[in-house]
């Protein structure tokens, strides 16, 4: 008898929250870590270009799910691309590149967030998303009607 999906997932190497936090706070010292509602939240500011404003962002993470990122302020443009329906950022296409729990948020999710903001500003300047894009049509994306799955539900019930 093989392992169940849950049991199998327990065998994967996991970077625990303390280690994640250590790396985030080392690489992005302005970020602040809090435990909220059984999950971890790191809040901080990112400024992708010299003349950009600072964007306040929050990274939510529970070991049982995938990290999600929300821009707290300023409000993003209503039609901004590459957002999930719940306004969290689409930083990668799970079917092409799955984020794994042995990865560091500090070297993946947060740099991708800065890059997302960088390309978002270029989109504001030109009306075109000039960053690499999966071009996948996904019903869970901004403007579509499908519900989010557990994988991409942000911990948005957490206070910001």
């Amino acid at each position: 008898m093989g392992l169940s999906k849950f049991e199998y997932s327990q065998l994967e190497p996991i970077v625990n929250l303390a280690v994640q936090s250590f790396h985030i706070l080392h690489r992005f010292p302005d970020f602040i870590y809090r435990r909220e509602h059984g999950g971890a939240v790191w809040r901080g500011a990112l400024q992708p270009r010299q003349f950009s404003q600072k964007y306040r962002v929050a990274v939510y993470y529970k070991l049982s799910s995938l990290p999600t990122v929300r821009v707290i302020c300023p409000a993003l443009a209503p039609k901004a691309p590459h957002l999930w329906k719940n306004r969290t950022l689409c930083l990668y296409y799970p079917q092409e590149k799955q984020w794994r729990r042995d990865m560091l948020i500090a070297t993946t999710i947060i740099p991708w967030t800065a890059l997302w903001l960088y390309y978002y500003e270029l989109w504001l300047d030109t009306g075109k998303w000039l960053g690499p894009s999966s071009h996948a049509s996904d019903s869970k994306l901004q403007g579509e009607k499908a519900n989010s799955t557990e994988d991409n539900v942000p911990l948005n019930e957490l206070s910001e």
Binding site: R49, C90, P111, Y119, K128, L130, G131, S134
Partner: protein
């Protein structure tokens, strides 16, 4: 809101002084120093000369033709030794031969039109000139020094290098936004005012005043900062327009505190305030609109359509390539860089593709 970051980057490139002028400002100081240092008739003190003014501040915009240099001389400013009037003539005599020594034709002249405390050196067939200000610097250029007053009757305190250092400090503290903001204000003045312009130093003093007062949220984008600066200047001085028929601003020197704008002509001040209010109103509309083209048109009213671009497709494409995930780097503040920075904490980005349909 459209922050139009690429447009502002392009604007700042477009208002840079011509390259040949920047080259002159870079190349000449060393040659000038050697020339002045070698003189046996005109005594100077180590390190003899120092580039000052907008080129030294890295705040030059447009067609700035004068390259300012301080010349350090020995003396006692309180005793008016050497006598400023005599010294300036001796300096003129020395500088008369400078163009020839640099391989140009030209001549030196005492500035009687402007601050009246310097020697201009003009070059035949060149559209720039050098502006030399003698100074007594008891503790070196980095500290307070003394320059001739108007009419060369005495020596008065000044702190030009302290001002440059202060600008550098603020610029570093606020993510390199301070000097670009100062450049935008100077270009705004030059574009909107052909005459009656306030001095660049006054604009710099205004900028520093509002930063120190905390009137500007330096985490904002450059366009918002420009709007907020005009707004702050308007709120600071508009009462002078309505409460008096003669009042002008008492603008504190950023280094020494005295009123630097004591000779601001009332009608010139009123013209400046009208331009500030126009600019503030246009910037407000540019930031409020939900239409990119409308925002661009308003910024073009402020800075000129020859300077503020309509299209930035090429620059944006280049930036997009420079930021590619897997090739670019991110600093601890989130700045995306195309190559590894020389210092500080940074993280190489890993490749990814942003997920989803494009919305054009």
């Amino acid at each position: 809101m459209f922050p139009l970051i690429t447009h502002f980057e392009k604007l700042l490139k477009n208002i840079q002084p011509p390259k040949e002028r920047l080259d002159v400002a870079q190349e000449l100081p060393g040659k000038i120093r050697n020339y002045i240092k070698a003189s046996k008739d005109f005594l100077t003190v180590e390190p003899h000369t120092r580039l000052a003014g907008s080129y030294a501040q890295h705040m030059a915009v447009g067609d700035v033709k004068d390259v300012d240099t301080l010349v350090r001389v020995p003396g006692n400013p309180e005793a008016n030794e050497p006598e400023a009037k005599k010294l300036i003539l001796d300096l003129k005599k020395l500088l008369d031969k400078l163009p020839e020594s640099l391989g140009y034709e030209g001549y030196a002249a005492v500035d009687v039109e402007r601050a009246r405390r310097s020697i201009h050196v003009y070059f035949k067939d060149k559209d720039f000139h050098l502006d030399f200000v003698p100074c007594i610097a008891p503790d070196g250029f980095e500290k307070m020094l003394y320059v001739p007053d108007r009419g060369f009757n005495k020596w008065i305190p000044s702190h030009p290098i302290g001002y440059i250092n202060l600008l550098n400090e603020l610029n570093e503290k606020f993510d390199n936004k301070v000097k670009p903001l100062g450049k935008l204000l100077k270009h705004f003045r030059d574009h909107q005012m052909k005459t009656r312009k306030p001095k660049s130093y006054w604009l710099g003093a205004l900028l520093i005043y509002h930063i120190h007062k905390g009137n500007l949220d330096m985490t904002q984008s450059l366009g918002v900062l420009f709007h907020d600066l005009l707004d702050a200047i308007d709120r600071q001085y508009k009462h002078l327009i309505w409460t008096s028929e003669t009042a002008t601003p008492n603008l504190p020197d950023p280094m020494l505190g005295h009123n630097v704008s004591w000779n601001w002509n009332r009608s010139h001040f009123k013209t400046f305030m009208r331009r500030i209010q126009d600019g503030q109103s246009w910037a407000d509309k540019a930031l409020q609109t939900n239409d990119r083209e409308t925002a661009i048109l308003h910024w073009q009213k402020i800075f000129g359509e020859e300077y503020f671009p309509t299209e930035v497709e090429i620059s944006a494409s280049e930036l997009a390539k420079a930021g590619l995930p897997g090739q670019s780097f991110v600093t601890s503040t989130g700045l995306i860089l195309p190559s590894q920075p020389v210092s500080g904490i940074y993280t190489p980005t890993q490749s990814t593709k942003f997920h989803g349909t494009e919305q054009i």
